[in-house]
Symmetry: C4
Subunit: 244 residues, 4 copies
């Protein structure tokens, strides 16, 4: 709508609240599904579906405020793809965005723990190790970046909320790792000893794989979608959803 | 479309019919799912999915008539957010809206009972007590209010039907309480002795938690979305869906 | 787009093909789900979901040709609501529409039987009797008519495909009868001895209940949505989807 | 947006990457669902749902580049329906499109194998034979072509991504064959010894049935949707999604 971004404090509040709500749904639905079904397929179906639905509604509602990233690698990609245009995030904003996302993700994880009568923060003991899991994280994150910023580059940022939910749901099922695809959520999931937790020792290679995947996605972007013309106007709806 | 709201009797009829249909789906799908599946996860999946789908279609179809609230706390929030503009509900209308919603919810619950060969009204014996459940109700209701009126404030009221369905489905899975998030439905669910029932004694703290959550949601609204300019025109589609 | 309806033979072909595809999905998904899952809840979930998805895509794709009714009671309601405007179906067209729908539904049922190595037409022995089932059929059909033509009357015919799918999925779960809500499909389902079949003896009260429900839905239409102004122009997109 | 198609190398990259991602989701979700659930219905539900969601997001994101076909028979139909207008694929482009799709599908299948700690390429031993399966493939593919190009012909190409996902999900459940409906994916699925695999000996009749179904779909297109006027302008959004 307007080209003027909201003030930074509102954008950070939106990133923190949105990432907290997302983490609460991811972690909470995992706990509830585990309590309800003995069928591991039904558990995962509930966890994945709830998480994807939350992604869609949170990005749609909060996108016009902050971009609706809720994911440091999406913020990095938003900064990178708009760095020559003076319209995107600055490097300093990138840092505080990531901080707000991480704080939100940990708070949301704690909220989910509390809602199921657990201590606010726990320590996960669930090891998730293996090169095939890291490959899966890279594939899931790379395609996330490629699809989201391909939509933005073709002037269809309004489809980003649905696209993220659709892709993450598909990728959770398609991958061995479950498609965390988000460093803030990956770090926060160390703090719940439940279905969606991850042991601290398994986190670093997950983060590295996600970063490498995102870089591949960014590298593929011009191969598939071309280079953006410097003179073309930025479509309103792309700005609306990605840089707020 | 038009800025002239339909006459009050049509708006009340829409709120009553819509809330009745919603309650019939919530209660009826719970009874059917319980009859069909021994897996508690599958039962909940069916109940949640059916309820969320009904919310989307009922708000979309009846929204232009009455706002499609079907929930007294949504009506309260609609009154509050538009109280300075002369376009929203009056306090008196708020009261009759809540009455129509409650009457509709009880009728719909009774209809579901009848459709499954039960007496029109029953008494639920299902206690739902505990601070963690109340926290869950507050979180689910607060985010519902924040997301719905954030969409309205940013001129995207047309997304409200989908957003409500998406959020409620996610919140049902994410919370220990199952995200009732609606005082009219909570009261009506005292009258079915089935999957979705709630014992009368458990109702008051649920209502209080929902109210507190809604207030937190309203308090967060300007923090994330800013204060509405007094001079800005109200977008058509926001009016269309929220105040009819 | 254009106010000129396609020629009748194309409209009848679209109604026949669309209803055949719908019947094939309803019946075929019931057979497959029965073969795959021992959990009656999972079976019904698969059958309902597949049927609702097919409704959405078939109405969306074929709606501009024939209106995408695939249901004689929807055709009746389309004729009734537009009878004073010279733009809807004539009584004679109504008859041939119903014929095309019934022929399509039986053909689609037979196709599903063949795809699962059964004879083209079978006789169902599955009795579905009881006043609570008839109440359920009336409720499901009445709300279908109310929601669809409420959308049309408020100029939002473009939402009809999604609304029909959402409502039917919700109603299948909410009702004891499974929400047949369609006389052509009800008659056709006599011809498969599988999950979705219905014994011939159970059909007449189902049809009567559906008819009564549709009449109640039509009677509620002006109560909720008002009477259409004679002078107001018919919105393009309403015509597009309902009368082609 | 623009009538100028992107350069061929970008279109081929988009077809290859999109078909690879699609194949990875189809095959990967089959492996994961098999590992998680003992209920064959839950397995199929997960596999079908993930595949359909991936189709929607991939066609939506990559459609403006290459048309988002990911299926040689869709490319054939795109060429055929636009052969007199000088705007569609040429015969030579059709060949390289099919090559890119097949290379992508095999790569994606291998990627899924790797993500689940299997060799890059395997040999499937799963026979899928029988006239009823071939009938099912013809029905699923024919309706896919009819619905997609019916939407394009009526100027609603923007609905194609959702329509493909909806139809494929419905058709998977409705058919005995599982609705492969795509020669590139069918060939690639020879190379995984898992849930979605197909033995080489079963492939030729599948391909033939898919081809015959597509031809029936193309033959029905003018019967239902009429012949396109030679003088009518091509709607932008149709071009956008089908020929890029």
């Amino acid at each position: 709508m307007t080209m003027i971004a909201p003030p930074l404090h509102r954008r950070l509040a939106a990133e923190a609240v949105g990432t907290a709500a997302l983490a609460a749904v991811v972690v909470g639905s995992g706990i509830r599904a585990t309590a309800l079904s003995p069928d591991l397929g039904v558990r995962f179906l509930a966890n994945v579906t709830a998480s994807a639905l939350a992604l869609v509604v949170l990005i749609a509602a909060l996108g016009p405020v902050s971009g609706g990233h809720f994911n440091p690698l999406v913020s990095v990609a938003a900064w990178w793809t708009e760095r020559h245009e003076g319209t995107g995030l600055t490097v300093r904003e990138l840092g505080v965005y990531a901080g707000a996302q991480l704080a939100g993700a940990i708070t949301g994880t704690g909220l989910a723990n509390l809602m199921f009568e657990r201590p606010f923060l726990q320590v996960s003991g669930q090891a998730r190790d293996g090169a095939h899991l890291w490959l899966a994280e890279a594939v899931a994150t790379g395609l996330l970046v490629l699809l989201v910023f391909g939509l933005v580059r073709t002037g269809r940022g309004r489809l980003v909320p649905a696209a993220v939910g659709l892709w993450i749901a598909a990728a959770c099922w398609a991958t061995s790792s479950g498609a965390f695809a988000n460093p803030a959520l990956t770090l926060a999931r160390m703090f719940t000893d439940s279905y969606t937790g991850i042991a601290a020792g398994s986190v670093p290679p997950f983060l590295l794989a996600q970063l490498l995947g995102a870089l591949v996605g960014l590298a593929l972007l011009p191969v598939l979608f071309g280079r953006r013309s410097r003179t073309a106007p930025v479509p309103d709806d792309a700005r609306e959803l990605v840089t707020g």
